[in-house]
Subunit: 196 residues, 2 copies
Amino acid sequence: METTEGQVGGVGRGKRADAARNQEKLLAAAAQVFVTSGVDAPVRQIAAEAGVGMGTIYRHFPTRAELVVAVFRHQVEECAEAGPRLLAEAGSPFEALRAWVDLFVDFLVTKHGLANTLEPDSSGFAALHSYFIDRLMPVAEHLLDAAVEAGEIRPGTRPYELLRGIGNLCIGHESDTDYDPRRLIDLLLRGLQRSS
Amino acid sequence: METTEGQVGGVGRGKRADAARNQEKLLAAAAQVFVTSGVDAPVRQIAAEAGVGMGTIYRHFPTRAELVVAVFRHQVEECAEAGPRLLAEAGSPFEALRAWVDLFVDFLVTKHGLANTLEPDSSGFAALHSYFIDRLMPVAEHLLDAAVEAGEIRPGTRPYELLRGIGNLCIGHESDTDYDPRRLIDLLLRGLQRSS
DNA sequence: TAGCTTACGGAGCAACGTTCCGTTTCGGCA
DNA sequence: TGCCGAAACGGAACGTTGCTCCGTAAGCTA
């Protein structure tokens, strides 16, 4: 599951200088292109934007998903870390859950087309799915458990399903001004609450 | 919005015999292929199954969406007609709404990949989206209004959003045994209920 | 600086949706 | 019955995609 070398982050320590440079260029170019054309942008376009050949992009990121993961790693990480913090700060576990879901939705909604890739198959995006789930599901689980514990929501909701549901609801919000996923997600959260 | 001639249903009245025959063959083949390979099946595959050339399929159904619409028209119609009937039969408007949503979900869930095409853009599937919305939104609206009227749910939920939300939640349920859209849709409906 | 290793670039392949047009078939009319 | 224009057919061909492959270029080490 490695991106290029043993561990992530260091871009290219130990690699050849040009390889490290190109990896940086690719990450920057991809981030740029994702903003304008969405995460489904043609690989060629990203390569062109980076001034790099097709071979290079696939050597650094054998799968599109790995490129996407690399680009968004930071933000996913932030989102994951926000979970426990919100739990400590917010007035109640449920409020923490709500705030965290907002964060997650913001993330998905601002990344053109990201939500569509959360499905397990999604033609080669499996790695992306795994990464999201691996990193965020424990956080969601923690928040849900706390809210159950506090008696604010009914037990029985699966963290995985909640994440996928939220991801799904965020699909296609762009280019459709009549559709605001947040309202539906709000309904979902209400549905979660203990109906006392 | 016509499929081939002025009105739907009659397949090919007034057309040449071979044209009518081919349209039938295409509908049958498409229905068949959709079951096994999903609605995203390659056009070539449908043409081959029908024993027909590429040109023929595109002449009859200028857009994939129109083919899909033609194939599922019956079932969409049934679903639409079930709305008022359920309202009359069920114990309460909310129960009718729930039953109707169940019907809708069944429809989406049994058609491999159909849910994915409900987005307004979805690369040429715009016609499909329009058809679904045109036909089903009034029904949903009616049910929602009745439930609001009866004081069972809070007002303010847009029928369009509800339909799209349900559609979205149904995406990707196949090939993921851990994901059951129905549980989430149940949450959504709970969230709709007046929290008295 | 020589030479081995690593990485680069883009031509090339397969699959797809869609278009286009030469060929075939139909069916009304003499 | 035979003719002929219109209607419909089939599939080759085009553009676009993801991805692979390998000859070439660059970097690093000794």
